[in-house]
């Protein structure tokens, strides 16, 4: 059974289509990056998976309909829906006590262990903590829950680089294993691409690309060419090119590595470059959908 299975997933807010027929399969044990520009439908897709919003079409999470079976589903699914949703008034010990009180799969010792590695004081109120510390606290609470699926929606928005890096390192080293699935949406693609096993590009409520990192690496190549080889490289029909100082950077879809290697330096493209290549310039044709 796939962890997440969506067929023709649709969601409209008034006349605006947030999701326009999303087909998606996420197998268990993967770390999936959900990537797309603002308004692409990432948050709506995640909300639907978490049973926070009604939807049309077919969607099963861990074999259940998230809207109608939400209360049952939530024992196996955890999420950080947004940064800074922990209430300001709550004290750290209260947050730990409360989650221990209501969640049957919460391991208090684990949460205490994670918190002990931070500078967070148990008597502090959330509003007294820095943004980075609030994210650490939320992550400590969530990682102490033995869930099958963890959903993160822009979990590191507004954090500085050190906290962001630490956030994902902790997640990868102390939480992830083959039994768990993580779906994460973020704008900071470069920072998380090394932890992802799969990427899903979303634009205008549709899946533009859904592939494993291995497939991406096999299919797409990046070529760095000097000025004299540019025309020869263009003949191979790059899907994207940009100038970097005196050289030109091109992306190719399904062109053999040896043919490119003859023209210049061949690399594995970054997810961010691929994203830009496949999405086109920002807002091209987006006016209608965003209005």
């Amino acid at each position: 059974m796939a962890c997440i299975e969506a067929r023709g997933l649709r969601k409209a807010y008034g006349k605006t289509l947030a999701l326009d027929g999303v087909d998606l399969t996420v197998e268990a044990g993967r770390i999936v990056g959900l990537i797309g520009p603002n308004g692409a439908g990432k948050s709506t897709a995640l909300s639907a998976m978490l049973g926070l919003t009604e939807f049309e079409g077919e969607l099963k999470v861990l074999g259940r309909n998230p809207w109608t079976e939400r209360d049952r589903l939530l024992r196996d699914v955890c999420f950080i829906a947004d940064v800074a949703v922990l209430p300001g008034w709550i004290r750290v010990w209260q947050a730990v006590d409360y989650v221990a009180g209501v969640h049957p799969r919460f391991d208090r010792a684990k949460a205490d262990g994670f918190l002990a590695r931070t500078a967070i004081k148990r008597t502090s109120k959330v509003r007294e903590l820095s943004k980075g510390m609030v994210a650490q606290l939320h992550l400590a609470l969530v990682m102490a829950i033995d869930a099958k699926l963890l959903v993160l929606d822009e979990p590191t928005l507004g954090l500085d680089l050190l906290y962001r890096k630490q956030f994902y390192d902790t997640l990868l080293n102390d939480y992830f294993d083959s039994q768990r699935t993580i779906v994460v949406s973020t704008h900071q693609v470069d920072e998380i691409q090394h932890i992802l096993t799969d990427v899903v590009f979303l634009n205008h409520g549709r899946v533009v690309l859904s592939a494993s990192m291995e497939d991406l690496e096999a299919r797409y190549l990046e070529l760095v060419v000097g000025p004299q080889q540019v025309e020869a490289a263009r003949a191979l029909r790059p899907i994207y090119e940009r100038r970097a100082l005196a050289r030109t950077l091109m992306l190719f879809d399904g062109v053999a590595r040896d043919r490119l290697a003859a023209l210049g330096e061949v690399r594995t493209p970054g997810v961010a470059d691929l994203f830009v290549a496949l999405m086109g310039p920002p807002n091209a044709g987006a006016e209608g959908a965003a209005a």
Partner: protein, 301 residues
């Protein structure tokens, strides 16, 4: 290992009682005014009453000399502290209910609460329990504690002035007070339940200023009625809903015109035979069900 690990019961879910208990605890963490405000008011009242004991020996001597009018005054501090605590509790309950499902959307914490396996209905019930059950219970406890403090204080003052404490005690009707207060608050809680349920429903629905949305559907028609027909049926209906519980509990006629004087005057059968109480509870249940339905679909504001 003698027991195979798969024999351990897998933790699947906690019962609703446990979830409700933790949800109510959470409400008390967030809204400390629920118990601090009545306690603070009781402390202020006690302070004033302590100052007023200066006049107590004089009053007791007058009673001993046969001044019967003075005797009625001895219950004054007890009634005063009960009234002060109840009035405070009323305001706390109103403002709590109006913020109940509004504050969590405003500070976006609803997204955190919804990430935990607590149903919307459990959450709504835990929030309804605060004005309908918890605040009345706190009112009884705080009032009782304050009244015991008054009793100890006035007895000490009496003894220190070399007077017979029986002079004081024989004029107090604390037995009646301590039975009537919990009884009256129970009747009142059931009576006013639909009001708090309405406030909670509005707090789940309104984007801003739930207090206005809660009052407009009643105040505007009441004003139109007064202007168009010169009558006040809506107003009196509201008044009855707000204060009728106490009148039911504490007056002989159920209208607040003939106050009770002794334990035998309490008439639970009459109070609980009122269809209005049960009708009100049905309306409260409907409002709370709608609030749970709305919370499920609500997003942060």
């Amino acid at each position: 290992m003698t027991t195979p690990s798969n024999a351990l019961p897998e933790p699947t879910a906690f019962g609703w009682r446990r979830l409700l208990y933790w949800s109510v605890r959470r409400e008390l963490w967030e809204n400390r005014a629920v118990y601090l405000a009545p306690m603070a008011i009781a402390a202020f009242a006690l302070f004033g009453i302590a100052l007023s004991t200066i006049a107590l020996p004089h009053a007791l001597r007058a009673i001993a000399a046969g001044d019967a009018k003075r005797a009625a005054v001895l219950m004054g501090p007890y009634a005063f502290v009960a009234f002060a605590v109840m009035a405070t509790a009323f305001f706390v309950a109103v403002f709590y209910s109006l913020a109940a499902l509004h504050a969590e959307r405003r500070d976006r914490s609803i997204l955190f609460w919804k990430s935990l396996p607590v149903s919307d209905l459990t959450t709504v019930l835990s929030k309804a329990a605060i004005p309908i059950l918890v605040i009345p219970a706190i009112t009884v406890a705080v009032t009782f504690a304050a009244q015991v403090a008054i009793l100890v204080l006035t007895t000490l003052v009496t003894l220190l002035n070399g007077l017979d404490p029986n002079l004081l005690w024989s004029h107090l009707h604390l037995g009646l007070m301590w039975v009537a207060l919990p009884y009256g608050l129970l009747v009142d809680a059931l009576w006013t339940a639909p009001i708090y349920a309405w406030f909670i429903l509005v707090s789940a629905w309104a984007k801003r200023m739930p207090i206005l949305w809660a009052m407009v559907p009643f105040v505007v028609p009441a004003m139109v009625e007064r202007g168009a027909f010169g009558t006040a049926h809506i107003g009196s209906f509201l008044g009855r809903r707000l204060f009728g519980g106490f009148n039911q509990a504490f007056s002989l006629d159920g209208m607040g015109k003939a106050p009770i004087g002794k334990l035998g005057d309490l008439d639970p059968l009459r109070a609980f035979a009122m269809p209005d109480i049960w009708l009100g509870l049905a309306v409260a249940a409907a409002f709370l069900a709608m609030a749970a339905w709305l919370r499920r679909r609500r997003e942060p504001i």
